[in-house]
């Protein structure tokens, strides 16, 4: 049984911190058979720079999209955090040609990355990688499927909608 603040020998992935070169636990846990630190209950997580987050866009303006962050690194958050995706963070190239409505719509689920803790209210998110972007979108209660990196498609009507689409995960 290890309490917060106790020293451990091996560096573990989570639940530890380094204090002047000594690794200490931060939450209640135990060291398992391999000497690794295992947490007893979940560690409280919050978005950090570089974390991969899923968020739901709830409002778009000319220059940015606002979103609730729902999970961090595949772990659900207890309380929602606010994030924004600025126009210039949507993709790396031809940023000046972008129109916000053609990238996100309210209700879209977006996979993004935290790039800054931002100002007082928002985490700054970025989708400027191929694997980031909209992963789930709806039109008239119908789920859209990714069509190409700029468009999503309604499988019934074959109508396309403009989005910044994330590269779908291909299960092998």
């Amino acid at each position: 049984m290890l309490f917060p603040g106790e020293t451990i020998d091996t560096i573990s992935r989570s639940g530890t911190f380094c204090d002047n070169g000594i690794w200490r636990t931060t939450v209640l846990g135990y060291s398992d058979d391999s000497g690794q630190f295992a947490m007893h209950n979940k560690e409280q997580i919050v978005p950090k720079i570089g974390s991969e987050v899923f968020c739901r866009v709830f409002k778009i303006t000319y220059s940015m999209a606002q979103a609730h962050i729902l999970s961090v690194n595949n772990r659900t958050l207890q309380s929602s955090f606010l994030g924004i995706i600025r126009l210039q963070d949507i993709r790396k190239h031809e940023v000046e040609k972008l129109v916000m409505e053609e990238c996100f719509q309210p209700g879209d689920i977006v996979k993004a990355k935290v790039i800054s803790l931002g100002d007082s209210k928002y985490f700054y998110l970025s989708t400027a990688e191929t694997e980031y972007g909209v992963i789930l979108a709806w039109s008239k209660d119908k789920r859209l499927l990714p069509y190409n990196w700029e468009e999503m498609i309604d499988s019934d009507t074959q109508q396309t909608y403009k989005r910044k689409v994330a590269k779908p995960l291909i299960l092998e």
């Binding site: 049984m1 309490f3 917060p4 603040g5 106790e6 639940g15 911190f17 204090d19 200490r24 931060t26 939450v27 209640l28 135990y30 295992a38 947490m39 007893h40 209950n41 979940k42 560690e43 409280q44 997580i45 919050v46 978005p47 950090k48 207890q78 309380s79 929602s80 955090f81 606010l82 803790l117 100002d119 007082s120 209210k121 985490f123």
Partner: protein, 238 residues
């Protein structure tokens, strides 16, 4: 107030000077909170709830802790009194608890987020502050808030050149006691985080007595630590 604290070596409730009261611990008592704990020590019963970490609402890089202490109206040992929220004593305690927890919680791991601590005193039979610190520690552990260390607290008093551990309400009233000498110890590193005492009248604490009280209180903290550890072993068994 001619109540004797020690009667032939035993205190009013039958304890010896260096005995703790019976404690009981419970965690996860409220599921809607992120973390909760109930710590009772004899008739003193304190609950603590944690909400957070949640997004910082203020323009501050570092997270913020807010403390809210409420006492139930029936909590007093003597007559029932009207409990005024935000009176001097409780707001002082809120402030100091905030400071202590700020030094313990690892904000680097939870940037840009706030933690709210709600403490509710259900029964007050002395040493509430110490019980509250212990309850908050347990609630934080339950919530999984990353901490550098955890705090354990204990109180003692001084009566007729005898130091007594874990002061009850009636013992705290007796005027020859340094009514409450509170101490908080970091559980893992063993460092003393906080010392505070309430004196009666104009009496002053001499150095020798302070040393004696410190030693006893640290011993008391060790016992509380042991209790908490035992409890956690049982509850979070794997």
């Amino acid at each position: 107030m001619s109540d004797e604290i020690l009667f032939y070596g035993l205190r009013q409730d039958g304890r010896r000077p260096s005995d703790l009261r019976h404690s009981s611990i419970n965690v996860g008592v409220i599921h809607s909170a992120d973390g909760s704990a109930c710590f009772s020590q004899g008739n003193t019963k304190v609950m603590a709830f944690i909400q957070g970490p949640k997004q910082n609402r203020f323009e501050k890089e570092k997270g913020k802790i807010s403390c809210f202490l409420t006492s139930a109206r029936f909590s007093t040992t003597g007559e029932r009194k009207k409990v005024i929220r935000g009176d001097k004593k409780s707001s002082e305690f809120e402030e100091f608890l905030k400071g202590m927890m700020e030094s313990v919680i690892l904000f680097e791991n939870i940037p840009h987020s706030d933690i709210d601590i709600y403490i509710s005193v259900l029964q007050d039979d002395g040493s509430v502050e110490s019980a509250a610190i212990n309850a908050v520690t347990l609630a934080l552990i339950d919530a999984g808030v990353p901490m550098k260390d955890f705090l354990i607290s204990c109180s003692c008093g001084y009566y007729n050149s005898t130091a007594i551990l874990d002061v009850t309400y009636t013992e705290g009233l007796s005027y020859s006691v340094i009514s409450e000498f509170r101490i908080a110890v970091m559980g893992a590193s063993g460092l003393v985080a906080y010392v505070n005492y309430e004196q009666f009248g104009s009496s002053k604490l001499s150095l020798e007595v302070t040393k004696e009280l410190m030693a006893l209180a640290i011993e008391g903290c060790r016992q509380v630590h042991f209790l908490i550890r035992e409890f956690c072993m049982k509850t979070y068994s794997y």
